[in-house]
Amino acid sequence: MTRKLVAITLLLAGLGSGLPAAAAGGIKLRAQAPIYVDSKGVALSAPEGVAFGAGSAIAVSDTGSGRIATFRTGAGGITPIAEFKLAEVPYPTRLRITSKGDLLVLDGRSRRIARVAADGAFKGWVDPGAGGDPVVRGFAIDRQDQLFLLDVSVPRVIVADLSGKPVREIPLPAGRSFFSDVAVGSRGDVFVLDSVGHQVYVVRSGSTDVTPLGGSLAEELEFATTLAVADTGHLFVVDQYGDGVVILGPDGSFQGRQGMMGLREGFLRYPSAIAYDPAGFVYIADRANNRVQVFAIAQ
């Protein structure tokens, strides 16, 4: 609440400035031109997911329109590539890109992950063969195309191959928490976000111990739902209800908060996903603003 008041005050002070970010330690996010439309010039609608991957591809779940839009980023900026709808995925939400450029898309209605070629061809389902009846809330993929499926039914992280065949499981702490997202770092560390407990947990590479990464973020977050890891080990935690991004150091230390509620470029409204681009950008599915915001990571 206090943060919202501060945000409103800053908003008033900074109307039209285009860069509402408050200082975030050594890292700042500088707003670039957002993605508003797909390859056919159709406006995005409530995009829920965004991913970056092989070939500098950006994939967007244009959830409100029930379709997927793809883009490519390069020296000339971001270029729209394609857009498609899939009968199997009527309500695309979160998505990832494999090392071969295929898309993995979580469908909100069936709550299954579809494997989709870059041209939009449906290639099958990722069916976690783990015991029970997994309910995947979020998922991540590492550079070896190993999947990390956040199963909220238990809760646990199922590590699986691209078909869903489980390799191992990481049990998550039970209690009055709710896990919303999982991310995997370039060194194999797995990060899990507890939205209700305002806590990021880490499972270090080669370990199954789930430990809190840094302290509670209760003072920093309203209701965070997704996260991404930079190659430096910094984490970007998207605070959906707080309309911002909290940046954590590799040790979980709070480095600062960027973004605030607003409609102008650089502001966020109910951001719902974030993707990290090693070239020095993050892409944020700015859901209620019907666009994907692009931020350059500045030290």
Binding site: Y36, T63, Y270
Partner: protein, 423 residues
């Protein structure tokens, strides 16, 4: 010579610095007899009446006013010798044990005089009122409910202290002297035939009695909570649990969603077919994240009033609802479901209509005929992909500003879009 001088100085210093042990304050400070308090009554004559009351605070009885008051001057009101919130603890330090599982907020804050008269009263413990009446001065709603209950829990009529410790409970929630069921079993014998019959021979001795019963009394037989799950009301425990004779009698036959699916399949099928299911519905506790399986004080078997249930996860929104000066009526009423579908929805934010404008229009129908232009055709000048809707100007969960607007003055709000008019 020098050594003798030093010794003399040391002896003198010790003599002046520390009055002899065992010496009374009267002697130490050369006070007149009674100056620690009895002399006070020469002026404060009304205290002679106070001291005639049946229960008098020991220092008062002993005429030791200066135990609590500084006779000359003080930094605190009423010449108290210490901060009013701390002075009682100078003698009564352990009223709230460290690590107490529950504690009375007033006791924690040291606001002892809310319940106790520091001088004297007609009630034991110098309480300002007797019995449960004192508790109901603050817990008025509970008092009314107790009075209205047609099926009363006998101990409640006697005193709240039969079950509660008014200061803190080291091991139990709600200031209970013991956790349920141990507390309940002090009076209720589980092997008594009537008890066994009432519970259909289920071995409930280790169960939480309050999962079905309202310990403060109820309008229902068996002091069941107001809202009862029909299988419980109809004594059909075996609908969900194994038979009473089973070694697993207390366990449910099915867990999670499957446990509820048998009766609520239609609701579940409708919910699971939606674009967005509220995620807790799908976790291992499923329905029990929000609902109680047996009985509840709240409607729809909710585990607590709606705002508390929702706020147990969405504490950010609940806090905003409480702290905002301007409140949206459904938020002030704590009815999140006025706008949201708690099980699932086809729209973002689990709205219970196709979009936010439709949600608002269900109450504010004027928005359809006389309002600022809103709707899919009205592009928000701040964002070419956004359309003007109610949320463009209003923060529906609460705001510091009148009409729950995002910004303070109408001009600030309006020039966010109408920049030509910015001054």
């Amino acid at each position: 010579m020098k050594t003798r001088l030093i010794l003399s100085l040391v002896v003198a210093a010790v003599a002046f610095a520390a009055p002899a042990a065992g010496q009374t304050d009267e002697a130490k400070y050369k006070l007149k007899p009674g100056a620690k308090g009895k002399t006070c009554l020469n002026c404060h004559v009304q205290f002679q009446e106070t001291m005639k009351q049946p229960f008098v605070h020991t220092p008062v009885k002993m005429g030791e006013c200066s135990d609590c008051h500084s006779p000359h001057a003080s930094s605190h009101g009423k010449l108290l010798a210490e901060d009013p919130d701390r002075i009682c603890a100078t003698c009564h330090a352990a009223m709230v044990p460290a690590g107490a599982k529950s504690a009375h907020p007033d006791a924690v804050k040291g606001q002892c005089t809310k319940c106790h008269d520091p001088h004297a009263s007609a009630n034991k413990g110098q309480l300002v009122a007797g019995g449960s009446a004192l508790c109901f001065q603050c817990h008025g709603d509970l008092g009314k409910a107790v009075e209205a209950a047609t099926h009363k829990h006998a101990p409640v009529g006697k005193s709240c202290l039969g079950c509660h410790d008014p200061h803190a409970s080291k091991d139990a929630e709600h200031l209970l002297t013991k956790s349920a069921p141990a507390l309940c079993l002090d009076c209720h014998k589980t092997d008594a035939p009537a008890f066994r019959t009432a519970h259909l021979n289920y071995p409930v001795a280790k169960s939480d009695c309050a999962s079905c019963h309202d310990p403060h009394g109820s309008g229902r037989a068996g002091i069941l909570w107001a809202s009862v799950h029909p299988p419980v009301a109809n004594r059909m425990c075996a609908n969900c649990h194994y038979e009473a004779t089973s070694p697993d009698a207390i366990k449910t036959k099915k867990q999670g969603l499957d446990g509820c699916r048998g009766c609520h399949s239609e609701l579940l099928n409708q919910t699971l077919a939606l674009n967005r299911v509220h995620w807790p519905v799908l976790d291992e506790r499923a329905c029990l994240n929000c609902h109680r399986p047996h009985a509840s004080k709240a409607g729809k078997l909710l585990a607590a009033p709606e705002i508390k249930v929702c706020g147990s996860c969405h504490s950010d929104v609940a806090r905003q609802a409480v702290e905002s000066a301007a409140k949206h009526a459904p938020v002030a009423d704590g009815t999140c479901s006025a706008c949201h579908s708690p099980h699932g929805s086809n729209t973002v934010l689990l709205l219970n209509a196709a979009d936010s404008t439709a949600v608002c229009s269900s109450c504010h129908d004027w928005s359809k005929h006389s309002s600022h232009p809103i709707g899919p055709e009205v592009v928000d000048p701040r964002n070419k992909n956004a359309r003007v809707d109610c949320l463009s100007c209003h923060d529906v969960h609460g705001s510091p500003f009148k009409y729950i607007t995002w910004q303070d003055k109408k001009m600030d709000l309006c020039v966010g879009c109408h920049q030509d008019f910015r001054r």
